[in-house]
Amino acid sequence: MRVLGLDIGSRSVDAVWLEDGRITDHAVADSGFDPAAAYESFLARGDHDLVVATGYGRHAARESLGCGVVTEIKAYALGASALHPGAASVLDIGGQDTKVIALKPGGGVSDFQMNDKCAAGTGKFLEVMARALGFDLAQMAEAAMAAETSVAISSMCTVFAESEVTGLVHKGIDRGRIARGLHDSIAARTLGSLKRIGASGPLVFAGGVAKNRAMADLVRAGFDGEVVIPREAQTVGAYGAALSALEA
């Protein structure tokens, strides 16, 4: 059976094609203002028998496509366990939400936490801060890693933190130190969430922000256990969605 897994997120639509449980292809497209257009092109390939959607847009996809749906929590748990058998926990920092998941042996969810309504500490947060500092995302991560000291950022709210960053820039504080402070504060918050749900290693770090080297280093340094970043960190959810079709 050929299954297409779609993770319809706020920033990107990720797709994974499975045939008899093995990945045959994957793709990522920007969600833009019309996420349906993004996944239509994936559907148009026609090389699937079944579609399962996860992510923010899953319910809309179910209405228009009549496809199966699964929550991001379950999708990431399944995807991470399949990519890294023996994984004990999952961290996903996506475009507008962050989730931490503790896994049972075998890949079931034993506990999870998600951020509330705002985009505090997510990929969107990093994008806004990079803009405030005049960096692109990769430059900001590099500057953060190069900085020898950090400056404390107290706000996690995207709006308040942007004002805070602007204030620091106007005080003449080095951009690299501010970038480091921003990464430090997200890492501290994330590690705190992992601790609250009792997450142990190996931890699979997924989602677009896992590709940010500064975040990867900070999570590795702060987490008590092995941290695994899959090569295709961004499509773990889509992979898990596709796998869920094989569960029943």
Partner: protein
């Protein structure tokens, strides 16, 4: 009832409502009710009564209040179940809950109170400022209580716009607090007697105690049927019954709820439910859900689970305890009333271990698979207690999901994901 729809606009106009804004509000609530309630399947027939009440929520009931007042009766508006309805009814007053369950006119509210105020307080203030709650406009007196700092100060602001009386509720349950609370009930009696011009007697108070207990007994019967699998009534419908209990005519409501309970008991005996047997069963705990706040129940039940109980003021705290009916003298009755109300386990008390015991007992009695603890953002009391609820429920071996939200719809997507993932986990 005639077939011709009644035009209530003249009555609303007389009450001083802002008619165009009020029309818009009624339209929105009607749509919300349609989406959340009328889409449900396998509803008990007894819910027809509550559908009718909702269709006339600002109509027929307000007309009844209006007629009562024109005949010399007095109406008392309340926001909290600590205000003893028995006292009001014993003086032939009518007690109605006030609108506090929807986001309205926050722009006006935020001119006089901080943005970081809980949705319930902002809501009642918004309804008053925008002149869209016919209940408060029908209330000869609003009776507030000191159950949290936000409400306490909000009643001062409300007092600039309406006739408000505030009862002081103790924050502890020691003997000295009980003494003070008895005095507060006596003070309320004097106030209610002054407003109504009627004297409360042992006979009238005894009758009121029985009448209000009967209402609670009917709700207890409904609550008990929800322990069955499949549950014979949705959580949304059961929540609506408790919400309506705050403002409907007491004897009529009791009669209709007993009829609903008869039907639910028959459904349980026949093994009929609103969902298939084996649907995930959720106990909801926390901050009260004032009408028309159905947000969380709607999310849970649209995800395929069924809410089997509400450990909240719009739930078990409203009906689980009765006032003793044994007393013969007025003094003893007042003591019994004081005792019953001080027994309610609200987060405004310290310590409040009884609430944690209630949560665990209800979860077990109702066969819940998981507990969702619900706090309104900036409701410091329930947000603070949330941690203790989480620990206690986990220690009792049940999964728990903590949710902090408000009346807005902007977080429904994220809440749905969290609730669905929680259900997948059970």
């Amino acid at each position: 009832m005639s077939d011709q729809p009644v035009d209530y606009h003249p009555m609303w106009n007389e009450l001083g409502l802002d008619l165009p804004t009020h029309d818009a509000l009624l339209g929105a609530v009607g749509q919300l009710f349609g989406d959340a309630y009328l889409t449900q399947e396998n509803r008990p027939q007894g819910m027809d009564y509550l559908n009718f009440v909702m269709s006339e929520v600002h109509g027929l009931r307000i007309k009844e209040l209006d007629d009562y007042r024109k005949a010399g009766g007095k109406v008392f508006g309340t926001f909290c179940l600590y205000v003893p309805e028995e006292i009001i009814r014993a003086a032939a007053g009518w007690c109605v809950g006030l609108c506090a369950g929807a986001e309205f006119a926050y722009d006006q509210v935020e001119q006089i109170m901080p943005r970081n105020t809980c949705a319930l307080i902002k809501s009642f203030m918004g309804f008053k400022l925008a002149r869209v709650c016919p209940y408060i406009e029908s209330a000869d007196l609003v009776i507030g209580e000191t159950t949290c700092d936000g409400k306490k100060k909000a009643y001062e602001l409300l007092g600039d716009l309406h006739n408000v009386y505030v009862m002081e509720l103790p924050q502890m349950k020691r003997d000295v607090d009980m003494q003070m609370w008895r005095d507060e009930i006596r003070n309320l009696m004097a106030k209610v007697e002054e407003v109504t011009g009627n004297t409360i007697t042992a006979e009238s108070l005894k009758a009121a105690i029985t009448e209000v207990n009967d209402k609670r007994r009917a709700l207890q019967r409904i609550a008990a049927t929800r322990a069955a699998d499949p549950a014979p009534i949705s959580g949304k419908d059961a929540l609506l019954a408790t919400q309506v209990a705050f403002y409907d005519d007491v004897p009529r409501f009791t009669q209709m709820m007993n009829a609903l309970a008869d039907e639910l008991e028959a459904r349980v005996a026949a093994g009929e439910g609103v969902t298939a047997k084996g649907a995930k069963r959720i106990l909801v705990t926390g901050t009260p859900m004032a009408l028309p706040n159905w947000k969380l129940h709607d999310i849970i039940e649209k995800a395929g689970a069924v809410v089997v109980g509400e450990e909240m003021c719009t739930g078990s705290r409203y009906y689980q305890d009765l006032v003793s009916e044994d007393a013969a003298t007025l003094d003893d009755m007042i003591d019994d009333i004081a005792e019953k109300y001080l027994d309610i386990n609200c987060a405004c008390f310290t310590p409040n271990k009884g609430r944690l015991e209630d949560v665990v007992r209800m979860a077990k009695d109702l066969g819940a698979d998981g507990v969702i603890d619900y706090s309104l953002q900036f409701c410091g009391l329930y947000e603070m207690e949330s941690n203790a609820v989480e620990t206690t429920v986990r220690d009792a071996g049940l999964p728990v999901l903590k949710i902090t939200t408000d009346y807005s719809m902007e977080d429904v997507g994220q809440l749905s994901t969290r609730v669905e993932a929680f259900l997948e986990m059970l």
